[in-house]
Symmetry: C2
Subunit: 401 residues, 2 copies
Amino acid sequence: MDALDRRAPALLATLGVRGPQSRTQLARGLGLSPATVTQLTRQLLTAGVIGEVDSVPSRGGRPATLLALTNRRAGAIGVKVSPSRITVVPVQMDGAVGERTVAEFDPGAPEALEVLADTIATQVQEFDGVLLGVGVGLPGAVDDQARGVVDAPTLGWSGMAVGDYLRRTLPQPVPVLLDNDVNTLAVAEHMYGEAGRHPSPLIVTIGHGIGCAIVAGGRLHRGFRGGAGELGHVPVALDGPECRCGNRGCLEALVGDDALAQRARERGIVGPQEGKSELNDRALGGHPGAIQLFEEAGTLLGRTLAGLAQVVDPDVLVILGEGTDVWELWRPSFTMALRRHLLPDRRSIPIVMEDWPDDRWAAGAASLVLFSPFDTDGLGGDQGELVRTRLHRGLTEAVEA
Amino acid sequence: MDALDRRAPALLATLGVRGPQSRTQLARGLGLSPATVTQLTRQLLTAGVIGEVDSVPSRGGRPATLLALTNRRAGAIGVKVSPSRITVVPVQMDGAVGERTVAEFDPGAPEALEVLADTIATQVQEFDGVLLGVGVGLPGAVDDQARGVVDAPTLGWSGMAVGDYLRRTLPQPVPVLLDNDVNTLAVAEHMYGEAGRHPSPLIVTIGHGIGCAIVAGGRLHRGFRGGAGELGHVPVALDGPECRCGNRGCLEALVGDDALAQRARERGIVGPQEGKSELNDRALGGHPGAIQLFEEAGTLLGRTLAGLAQVVDPDVLVILGEGTDVWELWRPSFTMALRRHLLPDRRSIPIVMEDWPDDRWAAGAASLVLFSPFDTDGLGGDQGELVRTRLHRGLTEAVEA
DNA sequence: CGGACTTACTTTAGTCACGAACAAAGGGAC
DNA sequence: GTCCCTTTGTTCGTGACTAAAGTAAGTCCG
């Protein structure tokens, strides 16, 4: 009964995320035989962790019995760290997002980590139900997932052992998982979004930074030491402006929010004190120069992604991020440039734009934790293992109490 | 004893490819526990398929006993299909390459498949030892690995069921595996070359075409329907020359062999009837214009690969292909452009150039077959399964006979 | 209204691979 | 030499998972 099943957490998580399911559905979803699911569910049924809740009318055969969690109060806390603020949200396993906390943040300050830990701590103490862990998404590469060592030029962090610090400092011992914020988005998309219906999506984020995540066969490509997806620093112009990474001609230095705002100021489209949001307003209001700016950006992004798609061959393109609020301005030129530079038989690749508001990024980070029961490769390291045992134990104890 | 072990073929293949190994080495290499290896090897030992051949002096512990195949006459036939010819070579499991057959080929001819099958058939009948299968590498995407459906614009093939045809036509029933030629190279590199010592290499081929293969965590990224790696058709110039794919500004249309030769003719570096090899000669002879041509190509390739490396984050860059015979001409500008456009902490990525003569491509295709015993994901489909059983049965029968 | 067909589970018997403890076979320090 | 350490390999018991065959519970059709 006390077996540290690797499968039981995955089964529980499936019921938590996808809602009530029959045994057969579970078997297919988890890649197990029906026999195994019978065994597993019997244990969980007698333990009272799950229960038979309903039965669906049959479509020509024996009707299926739906299983569901008897106690679904389990979830994770998601954290998004950006250069100016921290967003923290509690997320239940079924995807329900709780009330968020936003705190000002100066990543360069000496007490930055302390502030981060404090902000998270409040939410940890107030969490309703079984807290499986804390997922943190940040703009940068996570060198060692197990220890949580972060390299994030955007934040000015290099070799910061963020994971270790949080684990030591949080008010209760709770698993902490870190990853690049675009990667967390990719995981969330895979679990809840459009990308989950495709085996090999290419996920692109536009906004302040430009990033991407490559998923192949349901597997996130993290690259050597977690540095994959730096789409923003792909060189696209020979003599482009200098980028904050130090190089010249980076995509981000041409179509990132700051770059667009800068160019708009140079061209007199917005005033010297104005920025991206004013540019958006002008363009939506019909200002030809502003519209042209987005057209240029769309072309550049389209061409760059065409190149990437030639090499990676995804089956869908998912666009999201802050920048998508004016996606209609990018779309025409983007689509044209993309299709024009793709091999003929790939031009029909679907493009999906998803709205993904600010706190959803944080919710995405929580998915990092909520996904770990499914993570068969152990990419989450020992922290992933901790999440799994917490899920099993947490739910079982909740029932016994 | 007749167990269709999934593991036994992998073990046999390890011994065939890597040579004699101790049980502990095998366990580590195959990701099995020592206990399991003991069980497996006992069966194979009593069956006489493998034997204890030697023992190595210890380094502070019990000395290891080396195991080896008692009958190593097993291998595959590799085929490389190019627009002008077919190269066929027999390859033994230890990597030894036999004598090659080269045949003229016109992929557009109505009897093209017939010619292909005939050329392979001769080698099949003459094969020395247990023939595990035939591996075919071709310039194009293999839509469905199991059925072997090929889309290859270079050959003018679209939806050709090459695999099915060969399986029906070859003189004996033998597994046939097909893949993109760069993918086969990647597999060969993974098994025998430098890339095998790195978990996430990016493999780039230069020559007539420009291609690449992305390997992540020992896994080849094949893309949706096998179309990944079309590096040659990444757009790199706004108003570049028209490419044979129909688009403009493709990398291949700027730095491929034909493009270089064309440009050399335009600039009067070689005569109107001369081509790439004359260009090589001029450049190696010190012709400034010719040298500059390679410099430009190196810069372009370097910049493009920098972009790709930002997104994919490989741990090594492996360059090979016909074009590498004059790699020294590309190298300086390539290296500079690459490093200049990489994020600072990635600039130290190692670059390895490997010599890979023409018939090695065919040998690479054979690796497709020789690798399938290790292919735990079953990417080779039922053909991979066939290869595994042939390996096991073939070697066992060879001993009994 | 009963048989043919479908689909959903369950039981059984067995395989595969592993962890843990143990045995074997050396090196090195004193 | 004689401990102790390191590394290799083996034995044994166990647990996870499965295939195959059986059972349950419905629909559909004549």
